[in-house]
């Protein structure tokens, strides 16, 4: 293809500029080190790092994973070394690569979230992804993200201190995700990412015990994709800020589907456990789709669904 016709994959998600729309999803990619052995991280648009908290967290008791048809339940419980060690040890590693760094931030209290945003605003990162949707912790996370007053208070307080693009990650475990999305937008979110995992459960009928040590966990993988596409579609139509779509993406075709539904960029996670090359391969597959369909600019894919 002549240079002039080469697909332009660059995206700008409310100030988060990336060379392509593919981001590794938080919690599935560590801090990038493990997969740097498998491919050049500079091939990705961004990396959303393992969910961070102010202090180190031990995480939940094992087992932390249960395989279910077309997916997995996990109950890791935000095990992480704490935001300070992330800044000290992990940012310098990731900065060796030409890839945007999204810091996924969680807290147990409103004050925790505000402190996280203050600390991360001074760090060398490209975006703060506020995790108001983790289903695996007793306090914070989803408790804030599943009510409009909860999300309004956290996002508006964080907004006051935030000097980075502020992305808010939404939980699907709500009655109407568009209400939550609109509350986040009104409270000052620059962009939204969705969906976090769906709360689920699996039982071993031999032992009669829940498979997960934490009883319940978050469902991800191809099984959740139609729900995620639907929610991205609904939210993209309900707000005017950009939406980053995720939930069961396993290929460039899946990524295109989310973009047609209205996503400005996508995150890929669970599928990488099966094939670590799904992350870089999806970038090429999106470009291939654009070439085939005559899209020069990837941003034109967002919301390009042709409704009946």
């Amino acid at each position: 293809m002549p240079e002039a016709m080469k697909a332009d994959l660059r995206v700008d998600v409310a100030g988060l500029r990336m060379k392509n729309p593919v981001i590794a999803a938080s919690g599935t990619f560590g801090f990038g080190r493990e997969y740097a052995d498998y491919f050049d991280l500079s091939l990705l648009g961004g990396v959303s790092v393992k969910g961070l908290t102010l202090e180190p967290r031990r995480g939940n008791r094992p087992p932390r994973i249960a395989e279910t048809p077309g997916g997995i339940l996990n109950s890791v419980g935000l095990q992480n070394p704490g935001v300070h060690k992330f800044i000290e040890r992990e940012i310098p590693f990731l900065r060796q690569y030409d890839v945007a760094i999204l810091a996924n931030a969680s807290g147990s209290t409103l004050e925790d979230y505000v402190s996280m945003v203050e600390i991360l605003s001074d760090a060398d990162i490209d975006c703060i992804e506020l995790n108001l949707s983790c289903p695996n912790v007793k306090q914070g996370g989803m408790t804030f993200g599943s009510s409009c007053p909860g999300i309004t208070s956290v996002v508006s307080e964080c907004r006051k201190k935030c000097r980075k693009p502020l992305m808010v990650k939404l939980t699907p475990n709500v009655t109407d995700i568009t209400e939550i999305a609109k509350a986040a937008e009104a409270a000052g979110a620059d962009s939204l990412s969705l969906i976090n995992t769906l709360l689920g459960m699996a039982i071993d009928i031999e032992t009669r015990r829940p498979i997960l040590g934490n009883t319940m966990g978050g469902l991800s993988g191809p099984a959740v994709k139609p729900i995620a596409v639907r929610m991205v579609w609904q939210v993209a139509n309900a707000v005017s800020i950009p939406v980053v779509g995720m939930g069961g993406i396993s290929s460039g075709s899946d990524a295109v589907e989310f973009m047609l539904a209205g996503a400005a960029a996508v995150m890929i996670g669970t599928a990488g456990f099966v094939d670590p090359l799904v992350w870089p391969k999806s970038v090429g597959e999106i470009a291939g789709y654009m070439e085939k369909k005559g899209f020069a600019d990837v941003q034109a894919l967002s919301g390009a669904i042709r409704l009946w």
Partner: protein, 257 residues
């Protein structure tokens, strides 16, 4: 990810299979105690890869054996694979066993499917006095006794029902040995209660012990943090991860519940 050709599939018992892979890459790189993370086809019923320990390596003909038990839809699909097909393999992954120096002595203690990774360990320590203590439920479940006896200087078997060898647990065989012997290291892999007893025995006597842990895994490379196991951390514990920091640990570091 690598495509490795399957050259042989053997059924060792009702539900235990040996898959032989032709791979110079693996024979050169695989160390005892490491595992392969294998894709079980494209079924969404067995979505994740399955971590399978490396059982033996034959440098001469460039083959690697992995042995697994059919335990669910994933291993069922692996058991149906045929010679000539290619397996989609990640690995070798994880930290290996640390060998005993030449001239020393080692005892391996294996229980059931936990015996498999110990075979290659014994093979890699030819100048060490090697004892294999293997425990199984019953005589019908005993696999690879011949292979173990060919690489061990001494082998003893225990069965829960007494249908072969010592009637009782393999831990009793170890206890008896440790009354008269002091090996340079004990290596253990098997059910958690067995590993706990062996580890306590060894620590009590000041004998180094290496344990190979098992836990449900996700990514297999240390990114997803699901395969947690308790590790001593001062007076408390923290969670370490079997795939990346393990599967082999110093027994003194692990908290068995």
């Amino acid at each position: 990810m690598h495509r490795e050709r399957i050259v042989r599939m053997e059924r060792l018992s009702d539900d235990i299979f040996r898959m032989v892979l032709q791979s110079g890459r693996l024979t050169e790189s695989a160390k005892p105690g490491q595992f392969l993370n294998i894709r079980c086809g494209h079924s969404l019923q067995a979505y994740l890869r399955r971590p399978i320990s490396i059982c033996d390596v034959h440098a001469g003909d460039g083959t690697v054996d992995i042995v697994f038990q059919i335990r669910g839809p994933g291993t069922e699909l692996l058991g149906e694979m045929k010679p000539g097909e290619e397996a989609d393999v990640m690995g070798p992954l994880g930290n290996p066993f640390k060998p005993v120096n030449p001239g020393g002595s080692a005892i391996v203690v294996g229980g059931g499917i936990g015996t498999f990774p110990l075979l290659y360990l014994l093979r890699t320590m030819p100048e060490v006095k090697r004892t294999a203590l293997l425990g199984f439920r019953t005589a019908g479940a005993v696999v690879m006794a011949k292979e173990f006896s060919s690489v061990a200087d001494c082998m003893e078997i225990a069965t829960d029902d007494g249908s072969l060898g010592h009637h009782g647990f393999v831990t009793e065989l170890l206890e008896k040995r440790l009354r008269t012997e002091r090996p340079d290291c004990v290596y253990v892999c098997g059910p958690m209660p067995m590993m706990r007893i062996v580890t306590e025995q060894c620590i009590g006597m000041g004998i180094p012990v290496q344990v190979s842990m098992e836990q449900r895994m996700g990514c297999g490379v240390g990114a997803c943090l699901v395969c947690a196991c308790k590790k001593r951390d001062g007076d408390d514990f923290s969670y370490t991860h079997v795939c990346r920091e393990g599967p082999v640990f110093d027994g003194r570091d692990i908290v068995f519940d």
